[in-house]
Amino acid sequence: MVRRVRGQISVLGPPITVGVVGLLLWEAFVRGFGIREFLLPRPTSIMEELVDNWPVLRHAIWETGWIAVSGLLIGIMAGVALAFVTTRFRTLEEGLTPLAVVVNATPIVALAPIFNAWFGITGTLSNQAVVIAVVFFPVFINTSRGLTEVHPDEIELMRSYAASEWTILREVRIPNALPFFANSLRLVAPLSVIAAIVAEYFGGPQDRIGNVITSNVAFVRYDVAWAAIAVASALGLTLFAVALIVERASMPWRAAMGDSEYTTTPGRE
């Protein structure tokens, strides 16, 4: 256990060091060259604004966080559900996958103004719709690949046990799809925050992170805008961390393979 904690410190150490040194250099650079605050504020003044505007920012985190997380969950469920349906009915997949690729190549955030017109600008639905659309396709494509790209020997083995399609799905396809699904989760978790904020740039209530950024930039309060960006970045990182935790918890065999101690001491169930 002690070694595990030490291991995590040694993993986190280098990026934290780089981050702190980077912030110090930033501070020194802005002070040393007399860069004007509206071009690039110092980290310390961003921090000050973060503290001063905390009630507004905290509220914005809740608003945007709700849009991102609810859109993320709905998008994931829809993507996984359609992946199961197309795995079961291959002809549907042949028709849907090219369509999914075309829609995926469309810059979804460009649809934000249209969604505002469709779903109204005052509620959360139009922004959630952007998040759902952004999240849906990577999850759908990765999960359906994981469900279908199974080694043929594994299917033959299951057939030699006279296993039904349902049993093959449960015992082989779903566990096989987990790493694919986890990859898409790592991708879409921070993407959901980006999608929510870009969608918010196109108007709507002023209490969300995207609008806090645009309105403060409009009033030349760049340091507050930077504080809002820092908050958005923290939100994205948090969701990414949650995705990693879900990944490790759902695939203990991968965690075990990454742990070198495990190979030398045989464990028992």
Binding site: H151, D153, E154, E156, L157, R159, S160, Y161, A162, A163, T167, E171, V172, P175, L178, M251, W253, A256, M257, Y262, T263, P266, G267, R268, E269
Partner: protein, 264 residues
């Protein structure tokens, strides 16, 4: 078991043809007029150049493919019935172990599918782990084991429900020479201890001579039985590999293969 004579036949392949993609441009005749009988308790190898249909024949016996014409029986039942009854175990070149199951859980998979109780499964998987001498590795995940160890787990899984027939498709093909020779001895020990019938696909001449009672040499396109070589080397050990009788049999098989490849 009413007919003891029939019950002695582990596998009967009767006038089997296999054509893939019937009626299309890519129609391929993989096997033609195959007749083969494997007696219960025998170890029979199928050998031949690539494209001779040896893996196809194995899959026909396992009812993973259906014959175009002809019939196959496994212990007196149709191959289809035998598969539904899980009368055989299967081992592939790729160990086919599931990454997400620990070694014991992999061995227990066929037992789970047959509805065995947890206690019965644990008892049997522990016994099987002993049979393949991996007692200390039950809690490992497959990827934490070497290729040879994975293949032993795969054999343990195939034997866990004590099938009377073991179908093996180049199971040691991906292993290095030393591991391969060790695994061959292990397999012969397990075969003797379990009284299983084995049908073994290989492309290695020494492997087929070392393991088998009979070696079936197939010719390619379409796959036909060219000849059957009887091998009687008694109890095998590592010394058998230096035995002149072993070299003589290997030479006989190799000459049959050469004849096949030159189209005789």
């Amino acid at each position: 078991m009413s007919n003891p004579v029939l019950a002695e036949k582990a596998v009967v392949v009767d006038g089997v043809d296999k054509v893939f993609n019937v009626g299309s441009d890519s129609e391929v005749e993989a096997l033609s007029d195959i007749n083969l009988t494997v007696e219960a308790g025998e170890f029979v190898s199928l050998i031949g150049p690539s494209g001779c249909g040896k893996s196809t024949l194995l899959r026909l016996i396992g009812d993973l493919l259906a014959p175009t014409t002809g019939a196959l029986t496994v212990f007196g039942k149709s191959a289809h019935e035998a598969r539904l009854n899980q009368d055989y175990g299967m081992v592939f070149q790729h160990s086919g172990l599931f990454d997400w199951r620990r070694v014991l859980a992999n061995i227990e998979l066929p037992l789970e599918l047959r509805g065995w109780s947890k206690a019965d499964r644990s008892a049997r998987s522990a016994e099987m782990l002993g049979l393949v001498r991996l007692e200390d590795f039950g809690g490992h995940y497959p990827r934490q084991l070497s290729g040879g160890m994975q293949q032993r787990v795969s054999i343990a899984r195939a034997l866990s429900f004590q099938p009377k027939l073991l179908l093996m498709d180049e199971p040691f093909g991906a292993l290095d020479e030393m591991t391969r020779e060790h695994m061959q001895l292990e397999l012969l020990r397990i075969w003797r201890e379990t009284h299983t019938t084995v049908v073994f696909v290989t492309h290695s001449v020494p492997e087929s001579a070392f393991l088998s009672n009979r070696v079936v040499v197939l010719s390619p396109r379409p796959g036909r039985i060219h000849s059957v070589v009887d091998v009687d080397l008694g109890e095998r050990s590592d010394d058998t590999r230096q035995d002149p009788a072993f070299f003589a049999k290997a030479t006989e098989i190799r000459e049959a293969l050469r004849a096949v490849e030159s189209g005789e």
